[in-house]
């Protein structure tokens, strides 16, 4: 329905204009990933759900969609963790405490927290997948009594690539969260598991009907992880995935993020497996 009054009002402002975000903390987490803590003007909260993203602007370099890696329960700021992979992120990595970026958002749908109350949660993070999942993990640690048992399975190529090391150790100390890490290739200091993340899944003891599995990582990883989780009999709509896509607007217009008729920036980036499995092509999200 078109309400002219409302339309006329909306025509006065632009959703393309970013807010001012000040970097209040910046540090390298590994040699490729940098962590940023950002404060909006007036220290207002971003008001996001875990799993949502923002469009980060650097004037002269346009914009990129970046996952928010802090929880809405972290007040007065929000966190981003960015890998240096292209022109935009390269520039972003040169920014430090006190520098200003543009922020639009939050955009999309986050993890279905409201549906996950009272369930056991299995979080599976592959590589950079831990970044959006950190928002969920922090949310759960701040609201632990809402959830059942929580497993966190983290995998990456080498121990040097492991993100949020200190935080992971803190999570490990908490008795109500079980955390397990694995690397593809160990180094001399590594005492944990070695092997693909899929090897950790059979060991998780769950009641599938009462469990949500949240899987984030590169397509090659979650295809195999989902196949493994499906073996555990977790219902398809309780398997949650977050997708990465090229995005230029965040508003469901520019077209880049589309999978078939779905705009990932608006309907995603978080989907459940039941939503994804029927996509005929164009995405690598199908379990093998």
């Amino acid at each position: 329905m078109i309400d002219r009054e409302i339309l006329l009002e909306k025509m006065k402002t632009s959703p393309y204009k970013p807010m001012r975000g000040k970097i209040i903390e910046a540090r390298m987490l590994t040699d490729k990933e940098k962590f940023f803590r950002i404060q909006l003007e007036g220290k207002i909260n971003l008001g996001h759900e875990p799993g949502q993203f923002v469009m980060v602007s650097i004037f002269g370099y346009t914009e990129a969609p970046i996952s928010i890696c802090s929880s809405p329960t972290d007040k007065g700021f929000f966190d981003l963790t960015v890998r240096n992979v292209g022109v935009f992120t390269n520039k972003l990595h040169t920014l430090n405490k006190g520098d200003i970026v543009g922020i639009r958002g939050p955009f999309g749908r986050g993890f279905p927290i409201d549906h996950m109350f009272g369930y056991d949660i299995v979080i599976v993070a592959g590589g950079l997948g831990i970044v959006p999942l950190r928002s969920l993990i922090r949310y759960i640690t701040h609201n632990k009594n809402d959830f059942g048992n929580v497993w966190i399975l983290v995998g990456c190529k080498t121990p040097a690539e492991l993100l949020f090391k200190e935080e992971t150790e803190e999570w490990m100390e908490r008795s109500e969260i079980k955390i397990n890490c694995t690397v593809d290739r160990a180094d001399a200091d590594w005492h944990g598991n070695v092997g693909l993340i899929t090897t950790l899944i059979p060991g998780v003891d769950i009641n599938p009907a009462r469990t949500y599995a949240v899987v984030v990582g590169p397509p090659i990883m979650y295809r195999f992880v989902i196949a493994e989780i499906l073996k555990k009999q977790i219902p398809e709509y309780q398997i949650i995935v977050s997708l990465e896509r090229r995005m230029r607007c965040g508003l469901g217009k520019c077209g880049h993020c589309q999978i078939e008729g779905v705009y990932v920036c608006q309907s995603g980036p978080v989907f459940n497996y039941a939503q994804l499995k029927d996509f005929k092509g164009e995405c690598h999200e199908k379990a093998v």
Binding site: I2, L7, L8, K10, M11, K12, T13, S14, P15, Y16, K17, P18, R20, F59, G60, Y61, T62, E63, A64, R83, V85, G86, F88, T89, I100, G102, P218, P219, E244, R245, R246, R248, C249, L251, G252, K253, C254, G255, H256, C257, Q258, I259, E260, G261, K280, G281, E282, C283, H284
Partner: protein, 361 residues
């Protein structure tokens, strides 16, 4: 008065009047093709034309559009366009009006796009009904866009000595109010209009070998069809088909800096799903690798996805993509081959539940 009429000899007087009211854009000849241009000389306006190289989209969704001004130090953003100007699109074909209606749906959908809405607010559309085919590439009849279906302020129909004017909005009414040479249509005029429409029925026949419902169903089932590989093999990924499409609206953004390197402008620029990097992410994953999957995506964005979402086909039948294609990929041909492939496969059990046993694969 809902229908008015104007004598052909008075048309130029009216056009003079219109050009004084707002900026007037109309089609005119450019070499052997046609283009929409600001009207400088009324005698140059072409009333009979094959669809212009670019649809009038360039005026309400410009190829390069200012989004906002910015300053790096101190961080500041500002409106890029202070005021949008009134303009009249004159002699727009019904297929292109259908294209405008498609973009209306897209940009009105929440979150609304203020740039488009502001331009649309200032736009007046005066259409002209085609009484014969522009050329063999049009499939407007199959899409139901060969006759006016709203979306305009005024619609001109040539009935011989006169044009009938269908008044479809307050904005349109204002453009003819108080003009002595535009009169309320009389019974004879209305009879002529009826005759013209009758005659049209004999000329305009469905160009695609199946109803829209059938086409939709066919697309639903032929995602993996080898036809897409064939189209992909011929496609050169130039993106012409999307540039000329009245319902393509994908864009990219770009920042342009002033010499000071402290101030600049963010633009949005038409982009094409046919481009190689269109769905590629920074890490290198490409979600629509191959020209076949990108061409298929374009077709599905006309005949399947928008139907699911808005119950609207995003092909207007203008035929531009076929006309402009360097590899001679024809939309009519592609859709008809899909339909042929569909009718060649065993029928599915009918809705009434009477299944042809043993025929299903």
């Amino acid at each position: 008065m809902k229908y008015a009429s104007i004598k052909k000899e008075d048309l130029n007087i009216w056009l003079e009047y219109l050009s004084g009211r707002a900026r007037l854009y109309a089609p005119r000849k450019k070499e052997n093709l046609f283009v929409f241009r600001p009207v400088k000389d009324i005698s140059e306006i072409a009333l009979k034309y094959i669809p212009t190289i670019l649809p009038p989209k360039k005026y309400y969704f410009p190829q390069k559009e200012k989004l906002f001004k910015f300053k790096i130090r101190p961080f500041k953003t500002a409106k890029a366009i202070k005021e949008f100007e009134d303009f009249i699109l004159f002699a727009v074909h019904t297929c292109d009006i259908a294209g405008i209606q498609c973009l209306d749906v897209i940009f009105r959908e929440s979150p609304e796009d203020p740039n488009y809405l502001n331009r649309k607010e200032k736009m007046i559309i005066i259409g002209i009904e085609c009484l014969e085919y522009c050329d063999k590439h049009a499939n407007c009849t199959s899409m139901g866009n060969h006759v006016p279906r709203g979306g305009y302020d005024l619609m001109l129909v040539d009935i011989g000595e006169k044009f009938i004017l269908h008044i479809n909005s307050e904005k349109g009414e204002k453009l003819i109010r108080g003009l002595t040479y535009i009169k309320e249509a009389n019974d004879a005029d209305m009879l002529s209009l009826e005759r013209v429409r009758e005659a049209k029925k004999k000329i305009f026949k469905e160009e695609l070998n199946g109803s829209l419902a059938k086409i939709y169903e066919t697309f639903d089932r032929h995602f993996a069809s080898p036809i897409w590989q064939d189209v992909g093999r011929r496609c050169v990924a130039c993106g012409n088909c999307t540039s000329v499409c009245p319902t393509c609206y994908c864009f990219d953004t770009s920042d342009e800096m002033k010499l000071s390197l402290n101030e600049g402008m963010r633009y949005r620029i038409w982009n094409s799903c046919q481009m190689e990097d269109y769905a590629k992410v920074a890490g290198g994953e490409d979600f629509r690798k191959g020209r076949d999957s990108r061409q298929r995506h374009r077709y599905y964005r006309k005949f399947k996805y928008p139907v699911d979402k808005f119950n609207r086909y995003f092909c207007t039948g203008c035929g531009r993509c076929t006309r402009t294609c360097m590899a001679e990929i024809s939309l009519i041909e592609t859709v008809n081959s899909l339909l042929a492939a569909e009718s060649g496969t065993p029928e599915r059990p009918s809705a009434s539940g009477v299944a042809e046993r043993g025929e299903a694969k």
